[in-house]
Amino acid sequence: MAADGAYWLGPAEWQAVRLSIQVSFWATAASLPLGIFTAYALARWDFIGKQLLNGLVHLPLILPPVVTGYLLLLTFGRRGPVGEALEQWFGIVLSFRWTGAAVAAAVMAFPLMVRAIRLAIEAVDPKLEQAASTLGASRMWVFLTVTLPLILPGIIAGAILAFAKAMGEFGATITFVSNIPGQTQTIPSAIYAFLQVPGGQEAAGRLVLIAVAIAMLALVLSEFVARRVAKRVAGA
């Protein structure tokens, strides 16, 4: 297939496909714990600044992606305050690396992930959590043994939404980390580049098909897993 594909897509495009998957996967996986935590905090705790946090989480949805990308560039860029600190203290460079693309994708996908997980948490019957606590489980254990398994379908839904969003993310990514083949050129950036010149539609169309195929695969897989999990949870 690789040999076959090599004719159909150039090596640069294959690279974009590989990179897109890598970026989307890590964007989703790495933000999941924070996403779960944030969703839990928003669903179950009352604290000062809750509305602010909620707004902040939604911000990337509200802002045009260019703005988000620009803000990311200003803060996480090599000359941005956070970017500089990250590089100095941890040696982590985000700007113009695939890691930066992952950060951009994660930020853009975060509101979707949090909302899905939050809805799932809000649907958990607190009476079950109470029952667990009377049996000796601390808050943490209640979360791990009762809440978490029960919201698994929601987590899967959130993760798949995030993954899909990350696969399609473009505006923030290209604004933050540019469009460097092999480093930051994901499928959407490549499609964009093709669409900017006459005659690029065909190549763009091929990439669109690839993107759709990957996302569909992930979607079908996640539906399958979610269904099994939901069955387990419903107990049938």
């Binding site: 667990a132 606590s133 009377t134 000796g136 949870v233 107990g235 049938a236």
Partner: protein, 366 residues
Amino acid sequence: MTIQIAIENRFEDFTLDVAFKAPAGVTVLFGPSGSGKTSVINAVAGLLRPDAGRIVVDDWVLLDTQTKHNLAPHRRRIGYIFQEGRLFPHLNVRQNLLYGRWFAPRDARRESLSRVVEMLGIGPLLERRPAALSGGEKQRVAIGRALLAGPKLILADEPLAALDEARKAEILPYFERLSEEVSVPILYVSHSSSEVARLASTVVALKAGRVVACGPPAEVLGDVAAVGARGTASILRARVVAHHLDGLSELSTAAGALWLPQMDVTEGQTIRVRIAAQDVILSRARPKGLSALNILRGTIMEIRYGDGPGALVVLAMGEDRLIARITRRSVAEMALEPRQTCYAVIKSVAVAPGDVGRGRFTQTAQ
């Protein structure tokens, strides 16, 4: 082991204001639907934080709103059998049963899974999920889950309501054993006066959020106001004399011999026997030729009349009291009066197996 509870809490249109002190053993909360039983239990479990109150088990303060002390539910080491099951839907029966064990200290794991499973008759269900269980099966798993958590205090909210008589008869002795041998205090909600008599060391009768009676069952059960006419019963101390070959056990009481269906108690032990007031027939002369084996002699202490056609006749038999509920008409026809000697006829089999308990006699609490 004593339990001290004092709780005040206002709901929208219901006020809970309950205070009682109960000695070791099983404390039964008794009262009509909506009288606040579950609320009291929830407060003890830490699931309801009352407006004001203090809950102490032995010397262990679970809650004291004055000092703002409020132990988290998971530190209270309770085994709560909820009125509505609350099984974990994502765990199978075995995992549900063992859930509390993960968190119990090693030395608190007294009950073995297999023993509890056998007692509850849920062996074939271990791999199923709660959604595939019947109502009674769920309830039994919930009981097992609480018992296996190795609790220092058991809260049971009508644990046997969904079960048939046979099943109840198998499970009840377990609670008895827990409170006696293992000396785990139990707070037990029940609507059944036979469960009360069987298990209770102390009965707390609630009505509309208040305690209307509190004391040993012999006292509270004799109180029509607290338990209603049909719940009235007396409790006799009896020593097991012998188990006979025809399946009967002979007991001796202060007022004579009692014959009961064979029971699983060592000869020589003292047990207590609940006798529903309505199961007692009185006779001025010693009756003859009756199928009833048990005829006890006593002295009429008191005759109480209520609203209905019935009357309660209290007989003194040594230190014990036997209450008979008969019709006013009979009182009149037999010309019963205090201080007369009287014979009580009790059908041996009318003493339900569930009404024979090994509870110790305790002093009045509160």
